[in-house]
């Protein structure tokens, strides 16, 4: 079993102080997103989970990223907020159920870039379509491409800003819903 990277921990009070101000700036995001907080409030919880869930692709150095638990007030929609080191949020289901591994491959990054969204902005069920599409293409000796993938879907909703879902067009759908 792979054991991955260190988990840094910051005092909760210190984070709470600065992040309450941050939270007020995200009125443009749907309330249910803003009010969700991570289940991993303690590093020991995150560490024990990381001990049994691989997150780095085989053959890649675990030193490319460090994993940190988020604070009680961080929300996936929050931005970099002046952080000196770049970071992005991920959901644990990306790794545990959808078998996403870091670094993301060119196909996945291409879809995120085409949609202009961060990884947590795309609904996990839509991530499942991406994973399945890649397997399907590879089995057919095809290079999975972002625009070939997006051809099969519409994006919803336009407003408000909440998880973006890919909805398959019934007439051309080739993958059933992940359920």
């Amino acid at each position: 079993m792979e054991t991955v990277t260190e988990v840094r921990e910051y005092p909760l009070e210190e984070l709470a102080e600065s992040n309450w101000q941050v939270k007020g700036r995200y009125g443009w995001v749907a309330v249910d997103i803003r009010n969700q907080s991570s289940l991993f409030l303690r590093s020991c919880l995150l560490n024990s989970w990381l001990n049994c869930t691989p997150i780095i692709a085989k053959g890649i150095s675990s030193g490319i990223i460090s994993l940190e638990r988020v604070s009680a007030i961080d929300s996936v929609c929050h931005g970099q907020e002046g952080a000196t080191e770049k970071f992005f949020y991920m959901y644990m289901c990306h790794f545990s159920q959808l078998h996403v591994r870091l670094p993301l491959d060119d196909f996945t990054m291409g879809v995120l870039r085409a949609l202009n969204i961060a990884p947590t902005h795309l609904h996990p069920n839509s991530w499942a379509y991406m994973q399945a599409f890649r397997v399907l293409c590879q089995s057919l000796y095809l290079q999975p491409s972002p625009y070939a993938f997006l051809y099969f879907y519409d994006t919803r909703p336009r407003q408000p800003t909440t998880w973006l879902s890919l909805v398959s067009c019934p007439s051309i759908s080739r993958l059933d819903a992940f359920s």
Partner: protein, 78 residues
């Protein structure tokens, strides 16, 4: 947190939520590049919906996927 060593791996997508996701709807095949169109045309030959969950499981269990026949067999076993 992206470390110095990993910067080159993570440059190609937004790290934060944006208020303006791009919209995709009813894209025509004539809007696709030839290479993308070829992928779409091959996949359109499938008459039925394929099981997304089964394919995701296959992705985890098989590292070297041989071909579509192997996939079909694995999906039957899932």
């Amino acid at each position: 947190m992206v470390k110095e060593e990993g910067k080159s791996y993570f440059l190609k997508f937004p790290f934060s939520w944006t208020g303006i996701p791009s919209r995709y709807k009813d894209m025509g095949t004539d809007e696709l590049l030839a290479v993308d169109k070829e992928v779409v045309e091959v996949l359109m030959k499938f008459s039925d919906n394929l099981p997304t969950k089964g394919l995701v499981r296959v992705y985890n269990s098989v590292h070297l996927i041989i071909d579509i026949e192997g996939i079909c067999l694995l999906l039957k076993l899932c």
